[in-house]
């Protein structure tokens, strides 16, 4: 009987504890990127508030949270999504609006609304990083000349070998045009026309038989390191981590890079909405954003954090030249046109899939 009582008591305390235990579930992109967030945001957040952060990974969190909200089955509190997804989900009423006044000001007192880079704040989303899709290659794959431009990515005669590309229309079409010689500034104007889209697919046709498609951000560094592909598009931070932390012979080509924001959003019906807001306010303050940049080479979305970015967590690699926003890397850079993709995402992906199946 005694044992039974003791068991019951402990069970009750367990239940009570579970009820008290605060949680927030954050969905992000996995791999080195999630790790940087765990180190820079999650751990200090739990230390300060006692709220446990559950970290979940997805290939692209924008889609699973849309599915969750539409199916009425939401289990994610905070998701890290691309710009066009943030805008579209907000338009469709699938996101909670975020009270931007809760965001803390910069250390010098500049209000958050002025401290964030232009466009980094919307009704439903707060940006945390600037990242970039770049072309990268394995230095061991090419004995002679090394590729230097995005055009080289599409030139399998000069630089033979398999090519890795993200299995999605976004970024792929832009890069195809840039590889075909279109300057960054003219890409979207051209893609608005049918002829432009045709031209992009024609450029992809030339290397289609050599393409290995990837979906998760962690795949390209692995494909490159294993020698499964010679060159691949990739998120720049993943390549940085593979090259610096794991000493892989991977090199980034900044020519034709495509920049985008990643933003935190709260899906409508999130089970821990209050904690989600607390988490976002905490994670996007000046210090946290600067901290994250010491774990992966993505630029912070606050101006005040930029000055605080120093060395990688190994203590010797200077981060600044590895950032997509470094002046030397911007000579032929494209900023993702989110409005274009909000409108055209469904249409172009449909065409993209038909093209893939051909």
């Amino acid at each position: 009987m005694k044992l039974k009582t003791a068991l019951l008591a402990s069970a009750l305390t367990a239940v009570a504890f579970a009820a008290q235990a605060q949680e927030v579930t954050v969905m992000s992109w996995g791999g080195a990127y999630t790790k940087s967030q765990v180190e820079a945001y999650h751990k200090p957040f739990t230390a300060e508030t006692g709220i446990k952060v559950v970290s979940i990974d997805a290939d692209n969190p924008g889609t699973p949270i849309k599915a969750q909200v539409e199916a009425g089955n939401v289990s994610v509190d905070v998701a890290d999504v691309e710009y066009s997804d943030a805008v579209r989900l907000c338009d469709e009423g699938l996101l909670e609006t975020i009270d931007l006044s809760m965001l803390p000001p910069a250390p010098d007192g500049t209000p958050a609304s002025e401290d964030f880079i232009d466009g980094a704040l919307t009704d439903c989303a707060v940006a945390n990083i600037v990242w970039s899709t770049v072309v990268s290659y394995n230095a061991n794959a090419f004995s002679g000349d090394k590729p230097t431009t995005i055009a080289d990515f599409f030139d399998t005669a000069k630089f033979p070998g398999k090519r890795g590309l993200r299995k999605s229309a976004k970024a792929t079409l832009e890069m195809a045009l840039m590889g075909d010689g279109v300057p960054a500034g003219e890409v979207y104007a051209l893609l608005e026309t049918d002829a432009g889209v045709d031209r992009a697919f024609a450029a992809l046709d030339k290397i289609k038989s050599d393409i290995v498609w990837w979906e998760a951000g962690a795949q390209p560094p692995q494909l490159l390191a294993d020698g499964e592909v010679a060159m691949s598009t990739a998120y720049n931070g993943r390549i940085f981590n593979a090259a610096v932390a794991e000493n892989q012979p991977l090199v980034v080509i900044w020519d034709g890079q495509m920049m985008d924001f990643d933003l935190f959003v709260v899906p409508k019906g999130a089970p821990n909405k209050e904690n989600a807001m607390k988490f976002i306010a905490f994670a996007t303050d000046t210090q946290r954003l600067a901290d994250q940049a010491s774990w992966i080479s993505y630029g912070p979305a606050r101006k005040s954090s930029g000055a605080m970015v120093g060395k990688y967590s190994d203590g010797k690699t200077e981060m600044a030249p590895h950032m997509p926003t470094a002046a030397a890397n911007l000579s032929n850079a494209l900023v993702n046109n989110f409005e274009f993709w909000v409108d055209k995402d469904a249409e172009l992906n449909e065409r993209f899939n038909a093209w893939l199946a051909k």
């Binding site: 889609t63 019906g269 249409e347 899939n353 038909a354 199946a357």
Partner: protein, 430 residues
């Protein structure tokens, strides 16, 4: 039967009831008892299996995207596009949208804005007319500022609002019941007059994928047959104590996790993998000419052939085992060559096993998802992968459901055929 004269001859039970009736009663009782044993499971399967699939099929011809908005928090359901529906009801297909139509549209856009439902409604239209999603979100954003004449005002926002095709799509979408997703699933659409036409070539994908699924499944069935026949024959003709040992080699793959087997094939086939390494090591292949055997149809074919092979071996074996070897011997003694004896005597006797194995492998192959997803690359994908794509990525659930319904229909026909020809009772597992 019950007349008095017959009464004397009628057999009765001990307590005087007619035996026939008592027997019938006992049989009905036994029937009921047998049925009640099955009932719990039947109910379970109906709830956890048949109902969900039925509900999904419902989604393939029912989409509320353009008719009802459901608030996510409260679950309040508000009809949308009601004014437009009234106009469509009053005017038949082919009527040029007049000022009244645009006024109805403008009124509906205001509702969309208030409900934040423009994205939802636009998405529904966008399924059938690409590029229209943003027209709705843009128009709704400034909906209450629209002033008559509405026709002019709305067309000024985007000239595509005057597109008769858009109006045809909107007309169809104002009814939640639609067959258009089935049309889309076979690369068809309707033109402005409601005639069914092919979609433009750059967007055709589903029919192609159904054909590819069919083609690959047939090839895989053929491959498994070619590989299974000799070893099934060997197993059936060896003494049992040897064949039982060899049978383990067939059954072990059958019991091994699908993911393990797929992983193994990835290790073997990738360009830095075991097979390529061995070929390069033996000097058969230059280091720079490594074969691409994965992330294409070949990867899907090889891995699926391996995975489905036991499903072909087992039915063949169970048919071959009881075949009496003296038939072939008799044929030989009558002068047949060994080839003729095989072709005319042995092979025909194994036909039921071939049928059973081929149908089973084919049924399982057409619905495969995991293996093509992992080793198939872009051109080794099957129809299941496309269903998953629309479920998880594009979130066009009605189209996913329509594709699933077509696939399910094909599988059910084959299943029915299997039951007719072979009988489900004869399904054996090792």
């Amino acid at each position: 039967m019950t007349d008095a004269s017959a009464n004397g001859q009628l057999l009765t039970t001990a307590d005087g009831k007619p035996l026939k009736r008592a027997l019938a009663k006992a049989q009905a009782h036994a029937k009921r008892r047998a049925f009640f044993l099955v009932l719990p499971l039947l109910a379970f399967i109906l709830i956890t299996f048949v109902m969900p699939i039925g509900q999904m099929l419902h989604k393939s011809f029912y989409n509320e995207g353009f008719t009802v908005n459901e608030d996510i928090g409260s679950g309040v359901r508000t009809p949308i596009m009601t004014n437009l529906k009234t106009w469509f009801d009053a005017n038949p297909l082919g009527t040029e949208p007049d000022e009244a139509a645009y006024a109805a549209l403008a009124a509906d856009l205001v509702v969309l804005k208030d409900l934040r439902a423009a994205g939802q409604a636009g998405t529904r239209i966008n399924y059938e007319k690409s590029g229209s999603r943003s027209m709705f979100t843009k128009a709704a954003r400034g909906a209450e500022k629209l002033k008559p004449p509405f026709k002019e005002a709305i067309i000024k926002l985007d000239k595509d609002w005057a597109d008769p095709e858009l109006w045809r799509v909107m007309r169809d979408a104002t009814s939640a019941y639609t067959a258009n997703f089935y049309l889309a699933a076979i690369d068809r659409t309707k033109d402005v007059n409601g005639n069914i036409v092919n979609v433009e070539e750059a967007r055709q994908v589903y029919v192609k994928l159904f054909w590819r699924t069919l083609k690959l499944s047939i090839m895989i069935t053929l491959m498994t047959f070619i590989l299974a026949y000799p070893i099934a024959h060997l197993l059936a003709t060896l003494p049992l104590r040897y064949s039982n040992l060899l049978m383990i080699l067939v059954l072990l793959p059958f019991w091994t996790s699908l993911l393990v087997r797929t992983t193994s094939w990835m290790i073997l086939l990738q360009s830095q993998g075991v097979v390529n390494d061995a070929l390069v090591g033996m000097g058969l292949l230059g280091d720079e000419n490594r074969l691409q055997m994965m992330y294409n149809q070949m990867g899907t074919m090889v891995a699926m052939t391996h995975i489905l092979l036991p499903f072909m071996v087992l039915p063949l074996y169970s048919v071959m085992r009881p075949i009496n070897p003296s038939y072939v011997r008799a044929a030989r003694s009558l002068g047949a060559t060994s080839w003729t004896a095989f072709r005319r005597i042995y092979f025909p006797q194994t036909a039921p096993g071939i049928g059973a194995g081929a149908l089973l492998v084919f049924i399982l192959a057409v619905g495969y998802y995991i293996t093509p997803a992992l080793v198939g690359g872009a051109d080794g994908q099957l129809i299941s992968n496309l269903i998953a794509f629309h479920m998880q990525k594009s979130l066009n659930w009605s189209l996913a459901a329509a594709l699933a319904a077509i696939l399910l229909g094909c599988v059910m026909v084959l299943y029915w055929l299997y039951d007719r020809l072979i009988g489900i009772d004869n399904l054996k597992l090792g």
